[in-house]
Protein backbone atom coordinates (compact mmCIF):
# COMPACT_ATOMS: atom_id res chain seq x y z
CA UNK A 1 0.00 0.00 0.00
CA UNK A 2 1.33 3.42 -0.93
CA UNK A 3 1.70 5.73 2.01
CA UNK A 4 1.16 9.36 1.04
CA UNK A 5 2.83 11.93 3.26
CA UNK A 6 1.98 15.58 2.79
CA UNK A 7 3.86 18.16 4.80
CA UNK A 8 2.12 21.02 6.58
CA UNK A 9 4.13 23.37 4.39
CA UNK A 10 2.68 21.81 1.21
CA UNK A 11 -0.87 22.05 2.61
CA UNK A 12 -0.30 25.69 3.56
CA UNK A 13 1.08 26.38 0.09
CA UNK A 14 -1.95 24.84 -1.62
CA UNK A 15 -4.31 26.80 0.67
CA UNK A 16 -2.39 30.01 -0.03
CA UNK A 17 -2.52 29.43 -3.80
CA UNK A 18 -6.27 28.71 -3.69
CA UNK A 19 -6.86 31.81 -1.55
CA UNK A 20 -4.76 33.83 -4.00
CA UNK A 21 -6.82 32.60 -6.96
CA UNK A 22 -10.05 33.33 -5.12
CA UNK A 23 -8.87 36.83 -4.20
CA UNK A 24 -7.78 37.46 -7.80
CA UNK A 25 -11.20 36.51 -9.15
CA UNK A 26 -12.86 38.83 -6.62
CA UNK A 27 -10.44 41.69 -7.21
CA UNK A 28 -10.10 41.18 -10.96
CA UNK A 29 -11.43 44.63 -12.00
CA UNK A 30 -8.97 46.34 -9.64
CA UNK A 31 -6.07 44.14 -10.82
CA UNK A 32 -6.96 45.07 -14.38
CA UNK A 33 -6.84 48.79 -13.55
CA UNK A 34 -3.50 48.41 -11.77
CA UNK A 35 -2.04 46.39 -14.69
CA UNK A 36 -3.20 49.08 -17.13
CA UNK A 37 -1.65 51.77 -14.92
CA UNK A 38 1.68 49.87 -14.92
CA UNK A 39 1.56 49.70 -18.74
CA UNK A 40 1.05 53.48 -18.97
CA UNK A 41 3.72 53.93 -16.31
CA UNK A 42 6.21 52.08 -18.54
CA UNK A 43 5.24 54.24 -21.51
CA UNK A 44 5.45 57.59 -19.69
CA UNK A 45 8.43 56.96 -17.42
CA UNK A 46 11.10 57.96 -20.00
CA UNK A 47 9.43 61.36 -20.45
CA UNK A 48 9.20 61.93 -16.70
CA UNK A 49 12.85 60.91 -16.27
CA UNK A 50 13.79 63.27 -19.10
CA UNK A 51 12.11 66.19 -17.30
CA UNK A 52 13.65 65.13 -13.98
CA UNK A 53 17.11 65.05 -15.60
CA UNK A 54 16.50 68.71 -16.52
CA UNK A 55 16.20 69.60 -12.83
CA UNK A 56 12.38 69.72 -12.82
CA UNK A 57 10.99 68.20 -9.60
CA UNK A 58 9.53 64.73 -10.13
CA UNK A 59 6.02 65.63 -8.90
CA UNK A 60 5.89 68.67 -11.17
CA UNK A 61 7.16 66.56 -14.11
CA UNK A 62 4.38 64.02 -13.54
CA UNK A 63 1.77 66.80 -13.26
CA UNK A 64 3.00 68.33 -16.55
CA UNK A 65 2.78 64.98 -18.36
CA UNK A 66 -0.65 64.11 -16.93
CA UNK A 67 -2.06 67.58 -17.69
CA UNK A 68 -0.74 67.28 -21.27
CA UNK A 69 -2.45 63.89 -21.69
CA UNK A 70 -5.73 65.12 -20.22
CA UNK A 71 -5.52 68.19 -22.46
CA UNK A 72 -5.02 66.09 -25.60
CA UNK A 73 -7.85 63.70 -24.67
CA UNK A 74 -10.12 66.67 -23.85
CA UNK A 75 -9.34 68.41 -27.15
CA UNK A 76 -9.98 65.22 -29.14
CA UNK A 77 -13.25 64.63 -27.28
CA UNK A 78 -14.36 68.21 -27.96
CA UNK A 79 -13.76 67.58 -31.66
CA UNK A 80 -15.20 64.10 -31.86
CA UNK A 81 -18.24 63.97 -29.57
CA UNK A 82 -20.28 66.76 -31.23
CA UNK A 83 -19.36 65.38 -34.66
CA UNK A 84 -20.45 61.88 -33.62
CA UNK A 85 -23.76 63.23 -32.31
CA UNK A 86 -24.34 65.12 -35.59
CA UNK A 87 -23.49 61.97 -37.52
CA UNK A 88 -25.95 59.91 -35.49
CA UNK A 89 -28.76 62.47 -35.89
CA UNK A 90 -28.05 62.62 -39.62
CA UNK A 91 -28.08 58.83 -39.87
CA UNK A 92 -31.34 58.62 -37.97
CA UNK A 93 -33.06 61.19 -40.19
CA UNK A 94 -31.73 59.98 -43.53
CA UNK A 95 -31.22 56.25 -43.04
CA UNK A 96 -34.08 55.42 -45.39
CA UNK A 97 -32.57 57.56 -48.18
CA UNK A 98 -29.12 56.03 -47.66
CA UNK A 99 -30.62 52.54 -47.74
CA UNK A 100 -32.41 53.44 -50.97
CA UNK A 101 -29.12 54.64 -52.51
CA UNK A 102 -27.35 51.46 -51.46
CA UNK A 103 -30.15 49.35 -52.88
CA UNK A 104 -29.85 51.10 -56.25
CA UNK A 105 -26.06 50.83 -56.23
CA UNK A 106 -26.15 47.10 -55.52
CA UNK A 107 -28.94 46.70 -58.07
CA UNK A 108 -26.51 47.98 -60.75
CA UNK A 109 -24.37 44.94 -59.98
CA UNK A 110 -27.34 42.61 -60.07
CA UNK A 111 -27.60 42.29 -56.30
CA UNK A 112 -31.18 42.59 -55.03
CA UNK A 113 -31.63 43.46 -51.36
CA UNK A 114 -34.49 45.01 -49.40
CA UNK A 115 -32.87 47.71 -47.28
CA UNK A 116 -35.11 50.76 -47.40
CA UNK A 117 -38.09 48.85 -45.99
CA UNK A 118 -36.00 47.57 -43.13
CA UNK A 119 -34.68 51.07 -42.48
CA UNK A 120 -38.26 52.38 -42.38
CA UNK A 121 -39.25 49.67 -39.87
CA UNK A 122 -36.59 50.64 -37.33
CA UNK A 123 -38.27 51.94 -34.18
CA UNK A 124 -35.85 54.68 -33.07
CA UNK A 125 -37.93 55.59 -30.03
CA UNK A 126 -37.53 52.05 -28.74
CA UNK A 127 -33.82 51.96 -29.61
CA UNK A 128 -33.03 55.13 -27.69
CA UNK A 129 -35.65 54.81 -25.00
CA UNK A 130 -35.04 55.97 -21.43
CA UNK A 131 -33.86 52.60 -20.12
CA UNK A 132 -31.39 52.08 -23.00
CA UNK A 133 -30.05 55.60 -22.48
CA UNK A 134 -29.61 54.91 -18.75
CA UNK A 135 -27.81 51.59 -19.49
CA UNK A 136 -25.41 53.21 -21.94
CA UNK A 137 -24.98 56.18 -19.62
CA UNK A 138 -23.97 53.84 -16.79
CA UNK A 139 -21.49 52.03 -19.05
CA UNK A 140 -20.00 55.33 -20.20
CA UNK A 141 -19.72 56.48 -16.58
CA UNK A 142 -18.00 53.21 -15.58
CA UNK A 143 -15.49 53.59 -18.41
CA UNK A 144 -14.88 57.24 -17.49
CA UNK A 145 -14.34 56.38 -13.81
CA UNK A 146 -12.00 53.54 -14.82
CA UNK A 147 -10.00 55.91 -17.04
CA UNK A 148 -9.72 58.48 -14.23
CA UNK A 149 -8.61 55.74 -11.80
CA UNK A 150 -5.95 54.52 -14.23
CA UNK A 151 -4.71 58.08 -14.72
CA UNK A 152 -4.47 58.70 -10.97
CA UNK A 153 -2.77 55.32 -10.37
CA UNK A 154 -0.31 56.03 -13.19
CA UNK A 155 0.49 59.44 -11.68
CA UNK A 156 1.13 57.87 -8.25
CA UNK A 157 3.33 55.17 -9.78
CA UNK A 158 5.35 57.77 -11.71
CA UNK A 159 5.85 59.93 -8.61
CA UNK A 160 6.74 56.91 -6.45
CA UNK A 161 9.02 55.18 -8.98
CA UNK A 162 12.21 55.58 -6.86
CA UNK A 163 10.43 54.16 -3.79
CA UNK A 164 8.94 51.39 -5.92
CA UNK A 165 12.42 50.50 -7.23
CA UNK A 166 13.81 50.31 -3.70
CA UNK A 167 10.90 48.06 -2.70
CA UNK A 168 11.51 45.69 -5.64
CA UNK A 169 15.31 45.61 -5.23
CA UNK A 170 15.17 44.73 -1.55
CA UNK A 171 13.93 41.27 -2.59
CA UNK A 172 16.80 40.81 -5.06
CA UNK A 173 19.77 38.86 -3.65
CA UNK A 174 23.11 40.74 -3.71
CA UNK A 175 24.97 40.30 -6.98
CA UNK A 176 21.79 39.66 -8.98
CA UNK A 177 20.82 43.31 -9.37
CA UNK A 178 22.24 43.63 -12.91
CA UNK A 179 19.93 40.81 -14.03
CA UNK A 180 16.93 42.47 -12.38
CA UNK A 181 18.02 45.75 -13.94
CA UNK A 182 18.14 44.08 -17.34
CA UNK A 183 14.73 42.45 -16.85
CA UNK A 184 13.06 45.73 -15.79
CA UNK A 185 14.70 47.64 -18.64
CA UNK A 186 13.55 44.98 -21.10
CA UNK A 187 9.97 45.07 -19.73
CA UNK A 188 9.89 48.85 -19.89
CA UNK A 189 11.32 48.80 -23.42
CA UNK A 190 8.77 46.28 -24.65
CA UNK A 191 5.66 47.71 -22.95
CA UNK A 192 6.61 51.37 -23.34
CA UNK A 193 7.71 50.73 -26.92
CA UNK A 194 4.37 49.12 -27.69
CA UNK A 195 2.37 52.07 -26.34
CA UNK A 196 4.59 54.66 -28.04
CA UNK A 197 4.57 52.65 -31.29
CA UNK A 198 0.80 52.43 -31.12
CA UNK A 199 0.58 56.19 -30.67
CA UNK A 200 2.68 56.69 -33.82
CA UNK A 201 0.61 54.27 -35.93
CA UNK A 202 -2.64 55.74 -34.56
CA UNK A 203 -1.44 59.27 -35.37
CA UNK A 204 -0.52 58.18 -38.91
CA UNK A 205 -3.89 56.53 -39.58
CA UNK A 206 -5.62 59.57 -38.08
CA UNK A 207 -3.85 61.96 -40.45
CA UNK A 208 -4.31 59.74 -43.51
CA UNK A 209 -8.01 59.02 -42.88
CA UNK A 210 -8.69 62.68 -42.16
CA UNK A 211 -6.98 63.86 -45.36
CA UNK A 212 -8.67 61.21 -47.53
CA UNK A 213 -12.15 61.91 -46.13
CA UNK A 214 -11.61 65.66 -46.34
CA UNK A 215 -10.59 65.45 -50.02
CA UNK A 216 -13.45 63.02 -50.73
CA UNK A 217 -15.86 65.50 -49.13
CA UNK A 218 -17.14 63.07 -46.50
CA UNK A 219 -18.82 64.92 -43.62
CA UNK A 220 -17.39 64.62 -40.09
CA UNK A 221 -14.02 63.54 -41.42
CA UNK A 222 -12.33 64.28 -38.10
CA UNK A 223 -14.71 62.02 -36.16
CA UNK A 224 -13.99 59.09 -38.49
CA UNK A 225 -10.28 59.84 -38.34
CA UNK A 226 -10.34 59.69 -34.52
CA UNK A 227 -12.39 56.50 -34.68
CA UNK A 228 -9.80 54.98 -37.05
CA UNK A 229 -6.99 56.04 -34.69
CA UNK A 230 -8.77 54.40 -31.76
CA UNK A 231 -9.74 51.12 -33.44
CA UNK A 232 -6.21 50.84 -34.84
CA UNK A 233 -5.27 49.77 -31.28
CA UNK A 234 -7.41 46.62 -31.63
CA UNK A 235 -5.21 43.90 -33.13
CA UNK A 236 -6.42 41.94 -36.18
CA UNK A 237 -9.93 43.41 -36.56
CA UNK A 238 -9.14 47.07 -35.87
CA UNK A 239 -7.87 47.64 -39.39
CA UNK A 240 -11.14 46.36 -40.89
CA UNK A 241 -13.28 48.56 -38.64
CA UNK A 242 -11.09 51.55 -39.55
CA UNK A 243 -11.97 50.96 -43.22
CA UNK A 244 -15.67 50.01 -42.94
CA UNK A 245 -17.09 53.06 -41.14
CA UNK A 246 -15.51 55.79 -43.31
CA UNK A 247 -16.48 53.81 -46.42
CA UNK A 248 -20.12 53.61 -45.30
CA UNK A 249 -20.04 57.35 -44.53
CA UNK A 250 -18.57 58.05 -47.98
CA UNK A 251 -21.32 55.97 -49.52
CA UNK A 252 -23.82 58.48 -48.14
CA UNK A 253 -22.24 60.97 -50.54
CA UNK A 254 -21.88 58.72 -53.58
CA UNK A 255 -20.87 55.14 -54.43
CA UNK A 256 -17.88 56.40 -56.43
CA UNK A 257 -16.55 58.30 -53.43
CA UNK A 258 -17.05 55.19 -51.33
CA UNK A 259 -14.98 53.09 -53.74
CA UNK A 260 -12.18 55.68 -53.79
CA UNK A 261 -12.18 55.93 -49.98
CA UNK A 262 -12.24 52.13 -49.65
CA UNK A 263 -9.36 51.69 -52.10
CA UNK A 264 -7.20 54.36 -50.44
CA UNK A 265 -7.83 53.08 -46.92
CA UNK A 266 -7.09 49.48 -47.98
CA UNK A 267 -3.89 50.74 -49.58
CA UNK A 268 -3.00 52.45 -46.33
CA UNK A 269 -3.61 49.21 -44.40
CA UNK A 270 -1.07 47.48 -46.62
CA UNK A 271 1.38 50.34 -46.07
CA UNK A 272 0.89 50.13 -42.28
CA UNK A 273 1.21 46.34 -42.16
CA UNK A 274 4.18 45.98 -44.47
CA UNK A 275 6.16 49.19 -43.95
CA UNK A 276 5.11 51.29 -40.97
CA UNK A 277 4.54 48.69 -38.22
CA UNK A 278 7.82 46.79 -38.74
CA UNK A 279 9.76 50.07 -38.68
CA UNK A 280 7.96 51.64 -35.74
CA UNK A 281 7.99 48.56 -33.52
CA UNK A 282 11.20 47.04 -34.87
CA UNK A 283 12.15 44.24 -32.54
CA UNK A 284 10.08 45.69 -29.68
CA UNK A 285 7.37 43.05 -29.84
CA UNK A 286 8.67 40.48 -32.29
CA UNK A 287 5.70 38.19 -31.64
CA UNK A 288 4.74 35.47 -34.11
CA UNK A 289 1.28 36.08 -35.71
CA UNK A 290 -0.08 32.89 -34.14
CA UNK A 291 0.85 34.14 -30.66
CA UNK A 292 -0.87 37.48 -31.39
CA UNK A 293 -4.02 35.64 -32.54
CA UNK A 294 -4.11 33.37 -29.49
CA UNK A 295 -3.38 36.30 -27.14
CA UNK A 296 -6.17 38.40 -28.66
CA UNK A 297 -8.69 35.54 -28.57
CA UNK A 298 -7.77 34.69 -24.97
CA UNK A 299 -7.85 38.36 -23.93
CA UNK A 300 -11.23 38.87 -25.59
CA UNK A 301 -12.67 35.76 -23.96
CA UNK A 302 -11.36 36.68 -20.50
CA UNK A 303 -11.88 40.44 -20.37
CA UNK A 304 -13.81 41.51 -23.45
CA UNK A 305 -12.62 44.64 -25.24
CA UNK A 306 -10.19 45.47 -22.40
CA UNK A 307 -8.63 42.04 -22.84
CA UNK A 308 -8.26 42.57 -26.58
CA UNK A 309 -6.50 45.89 -25.96
CA UNK A 310 -4.23 44.42 -23.28
CA UNK A 311 -3.47 41.23 -25.24
CA UNK A 312 -0.42 42.55 -27.11
CA UNK A 313 1.43 44.12 -24.16
CA UNK A 314 0.53 41.09 -22.01
CA UNK A 315 1.93 38.72 -24.64
CA UNK A 316 5.07 40.86 -24.94
CA UNK A 317 5.53 40.81 -21.14
CA UNK A 318 5.06 37.04 -21.15
CA UNK A 319 7.73 36.71 -23.85
CA UNK A 320 10.23 38.79 -21.84
CA UNK A 321 9.45 36.68 -18.74
CA UNK A 322 9.88 33.47 -20.71
CA UNK A 323 13.20 34.63 -22.20
CA UNK A 324 14.44 35.57 -18.72
CA UNK A 325 13.41 32.21 -17.29
CA UNK A 326 14.96 30.35 -20.24
CA UNK A 327 18.27 32.21 -19.99
CA UNK A 328 18.31 31.72 -16.24
CA UNK A 329 18.38 27.97 -16.79
CA UNK A 330 20.95 28.02 -19.55
CA UNK A 331 18.34 26.82 -22.04
CA UNK A 332 19.00 29.84 -24.23
CA UNK A 333 22.45 28.41 -24.90
CA UNK A 334 20.98 24.99 -25.47
CA UNK A 335 18.49 26.32 -27.99
CA UNK A 336 20.91 28.54 -29.87
CA UNK A 337 24.23 26.68 -29.60
CA UNK A 338 25.53 23.14 -29.88
CA UNK A 339 23.70 20.85 -27.46
CA UNK A 340 26.85 18.95 -26.44
CA UNK A 341 28.51 22.20 -25.43
CA UNK A 342 25.54 23.49 -23.49
CA UNK A 343 25.14 20.37 -21.39
CA UNK A 344 28.78 19.33 -21.12
CA UNK A 345 30.42 19.49 -17.67
CA UNK A 346 32.41 22.68 -17.03
CA UNK A 347 35.79 20.97 -17.47
CA UNK A 348 34.80 19.66 -20.90
CA UNK A 349 33.59 22.96 -22.27
CA UNK A 350 35.83 24.67 -24.79
CA UNK A 351 37.44 27.86 -23.64
CA UNK A 352 35.88 31.02 -25.02
CA UNK A 353 37.73 34.26 -24.77
CA UNK A 354 35.92 36.98 -22.89
CA UNK A 355 32.87 34.90 -22.08
CA UNK A 356 33.76 33.46 -18.74
CA UNK A 357 35.46 34.97 -15.76
CA UNK A 358 36.86 31.71 -14.44
CA UNK A 359 38.63 30.73 -17.66
CA UNK A 360 41.49 33.19 -17.82
CA UNK A 361 43.10 34.21 -21.06
CA UNK A 362 46.83 33.98 -21.39
CA UNK A 363 48.35 36.35 -18.88
CA UNK A 364 50.16 39.32 -20.35
CA UNK A 365 53.82 39.34 -19.39
Amino acid sequence: MIKLEISYRAILLVVAVLLGIWAMTRLWPIILLIATAFIFHAALLPYVEWLVSRKIPRTLSVVVIIVAIVGIIGALSALVVPAMVDEFVDLRENLEVYAQDLEEFLDDFGIKVELSDRARDINWDELISGQVAVDYGQRALTILLGAITVLVLTAYLLVDTPRLSRFVYQFVPPGREPEMDQLLTQLQRVVGGYIRGQLVTSACIFVFTFVVLLIAGVPNAIAFAVLAAFVDIIPLIGATIAVVFPTVAAFQESPTQAIIVLALLLLYQQFEDRFLTPRVYGQTLNLPPLVVLVAVLAGGQLLGIAGVLLAMPAAAIARVGFDYWREGRGLAVALTGPVEEAFAPDEAKPEKEGTSGHRPRRRKV
Binding site: P174, G175, E179, G354, G357, H358, K364
Partner: protein, 82 residues
Protein backbone atom coordinates in the same frame (compact mmCIF):
# COMPACT_ATOMS: atom_id res chain seq x y z
CA UNK B 1 23.74 62.60 -13.21
CA UNK B 2 25.14 59.14 -13.88
CA UNK B 3 24.89 56.84 -10.87
CA UNK B 4 27.79 54.39 -10.64
CA UNK B 5 26.68 50.82 -10.11
CA UNK B 6 28.57 47.62 -9.77
CA UNK B 7 28.83 44.14 -8.34
CA UNK B 8 31.65 42.57 -6.44
CA UNK B 9 32.55 39.75 -4.12
CA UNK B 10 34.84 38.71 -1.32
CA UNK B 11 37.37 35.89 -1.13
CA UNK B 12 34.63 33.58 0.09
CA UNK B 13 32.59 34.35 -3.05
CA UNK B 14 29.92 36.26 -1.10
CA UNK B 15 28.44 38.65 -3.68
CA UNK B 16 27.77 42.32 -3.09
CA UNK B 17 26.60 45.35 -4.99
CA UNK B 18 26.41 49.12 -4.81
CA UNK B 19 24.57 51.93 -6.55
CA UNK B 20 21.32 49.99 -6.99
CA UNK B 21 18.11 51.01 -5.18
CA UNK B 22 18.11 49.79 -1.55
CA UNK B 23 21.89 49.08 -1.74
CA UNK B 24 24.87 51.15 -0.48
CA UNK B 25 25.63 54.08 -2.77
CA UNK B 26 29.39 53.48 -2.76
CA UNK B 27 31.48 50.31 -2.94
CA UNK B 28 32.31 49.12 0.58
CA UNK B 29 35.57 47.62 1.80
CA UNK B 30 34.54 44.53 3.73
CA UNK B 31 32.01 41.74 3.20
CA UNK B 32 28.88 42.10 5.32
CA UNK B 33 28.73 38.30 5.81
CA UNK B 34 32.31 37.27 6.60
CA UNK B 35 34.19 40.55 7.02
CA UNK B 36 36.81 39.73 4.39
CA UNK B 37 37.92 42.39 1.87
CA UNK B 38 35.63 42.99 -1.08
CA UNK B 39 36.81 43.44 -4.65
CA UNK B 40 34.82 45.43 -7.22
CA UNK B 41 37.22 45.42 -10.14
CA UNK B 42 40.42 43.84 -11.37
CA UNK B 43 43.32 45.21 -9.36
CA UNK B 44 45.50 45.07 -12.46
CA UNK B 45 43.44 46.53 -15.34
CA UNK B 46 40.37 47.91 -13.52
CA UNK B 47 37.83 45.83 -15.47
CA UNK B 48 34.56 45.45 -13.58
CA UNK B 49 33.56 42.03 -12.25
CA UNK B 50 31.09 40.13 -14.45
CA UNK B 51 27.44 41.28 -14.31
CA UNK B 52 26.05 37.78 -14.61
CA UNK B 53 25.48 36.27 -11.16
CA UNK B 54 26.55 32.80 -12.32
CA UNK B 55 29.80 34.12 -13.73
CA UNK B 56 30.36 36.33 -10.71
CA UNK B 57 30.06 33.38 -8.35
CA UNK B 58 32.73 31.35 -10.16
CA UNK B 59 35.03 34.05 -11.56
CA UNK B 60 38.56 33.78 -10.14
CA UNK B 61 40.43 35.66 -12.86
CA UNK B 62 39.88 38.87 -14.76
CA UNK B 63 38.30 38.15 -18.14
CA UNK B 64 40.30 40.94 -19.75
CA UNK B 65 43.85 40.48 -18.48
CA UNK B 66 43.69 37.11 -16.71
CA UNK B 67 44.96 38.42 -13.37
CA UNK B 68 43.75 36.43 -10.36
CA UNK B 69 41.25 38.35 -8.25
CA UNK B 70 42.54 36.78 -5.03
CA UNK B 71 46.06 35.77 -5.89
CA UNK B 72 47.13 34.12 -2.61
CA UNK B 73 44.00 32.00 -2.32
CA UNK B 74 44.13 30.94 -5.96
CA UNK B 75 47.80 30.10 -5.70
CA UNK B 76 46.96 27.84 -2.75
CA UNK B 77 44.24 26.14 -4.72
CA UNK B 78 46.57 25.65 -7.67
CA UNK B 79 44.46 27.76 -9.96
CA UNK B 80 47.17 30.17 -10.90
CA UNK B 81 46.93 30.87 -14.64
CA UNK B 82 49.66 29.59 -16.89
Amino acid sequence: MVIARGVGKCEEDHPGSYGYPSRPEEPYDFCSQCGKPMIWECSSCGTALPDDSGELATARFCRECGTAYFSEQDAEKGKQPK
